[in-house]
């Protein structure tokens, strides 16, 4: 059984990491957690992101949650903010898609276009196929 003392070991191991995270290259991954987001599955998305960040050993990443993003029908929503780049908004996320975003976008720098939000003439199209028609 885990005891609270194990935190002491984590402390020793992570001291450097915390310092590294303070520099400017930090990427933020933000998950919307309003009622609609939670009901649509935002919590497993958030946990999947944390697990993938940990699995890949990414230290220059901050995972955060926020309240309402204001796009109920598009939830769960994940925003990726890389320093010096425009914010990318991913919609209708699930745990698997979220893992892919961490691998391909956050780690390797390639935006996963098929999951991003598409705004055409002021209207949000949540379906990628619609845009191509």
């Amino acid at each position: 059984m885990k005891t609270i003392q194990e935190l002491e070991e984590i402390r020793k191991r992570t001291l450097d990491k915390v310092n590294q995270r303070k520099d400017r290259t930090t990427t933020r991954i933000v998950v919307g957690m309003a009622t609609c987001g939670i009901a649509a599955g935002a919590r497993p998305v958030l946990l999947a992101i944390m697990e993938e960040v940990e699995k890949l050993g990414l230290t220059d990443v901050v995972v955060a949650q926020t309240g309402c993003i204001g796009l109920c029908k598009m939830e769960p929503i994940v925003e990726v903010i890389k320093p010096g780049e425009e914010k990318v908004t991913y919609v209708k996320m699930d745990a698997e898609k979220a893992r892919r975003i961490v691998r391909e976008h956050v780690k390797d720098g390639n935006v996963v276009e098929e999951y991003t939000m598409h705004v055409i003439q002021g209207k949000i199209l949540n379906d990628y196929k619609v845009e191509k028609e």
């Binding site: 984590i10 402390r11 191991r13 992570t14 990491k17 009901a39 944390m50 940990e54 995972v63 955060a64």
Partner: protein, 182 residues
């Protein structure tokens, strides 16, 4: 919501939006008295009297992106279905307490679900402290983020490594106090 822990997530989200810095989550399960009690208390900005009167009315919301508030009315209907109730106490500039009760063995009662995921999601906010106390009959588990911050010697406990550890820590302890019921 499919799990009580998702309702809890949603109620705590209200506390976070109300700028709370300390959130207390108290869960008590008593299988002998057939009661399931959830209390969520915060030190946020509170709700004024006028709004508090109809707070579980879905048309009461201070949000601007949609005209219907959902969280409290959704949770209340779950409690009512389980022969319980939902009460909201609040004082402006002091804080808010939400008390939900249900019958433990009610067939309509959603499972608690992954409460450990709700807790670590809240702890992603480094400026918010959370005390989580869970009583199952005569056994008790308490987690206090302030203690974790003290042991780690840092307020930045919002790293995946620490949070995933906390998640497993909670899971194991809940299994222990409930005799494997979770």
């Amino acid at each position: 919501m499919r799990e009580l822990s998702l309702h809890i997530m949603d109620i705590i989200e209200n506390s976070i939006s109300a700028d709370a810095t300390l959130i207390e989550l108290f869960i008590e399960e008593n299988t002998l008295k057939n009661t399931f009690t959830i209390k969520i208390k915060d030190n946020g900005k509170g709700i004024d009297e006028e709004m508090l009167k109809n707070i579980t009315d879905p048309f009461v919301t201070s949000r601007t992106t949609r005209r219907v508030g959902l969280g409290l009315s959704l949770f209340e209907s779950t409690c009512l279905r389980c022969n319980g109730s939902l009460k909201v106490y609040s004082k402006v500039n002091v804080g808010t307490e939400v008390v939900a009760t249900m019958e433990h063995e009610n067939i309509d009662r959603p499972p608690l679900g992954k409460i450990e995921e709700t807790v670590v999601t809240v702890l992603l906010n480094p400026s918010i402290d959370l005390v989580y106390e869970h009583i199952y009959n005569d056994k008790k588990f308490v987690l206090d983020s302030r203690e974790i911050k003290r042991i780690l010697g840092s307020d930045e406990i919002n790293t995946p490594e620490v949070l995933l550890w906390i998640k497993d820590f909670i899971k194991e302890n809940l299994k222990e106090i409930s005799g494997g019921a979770f």
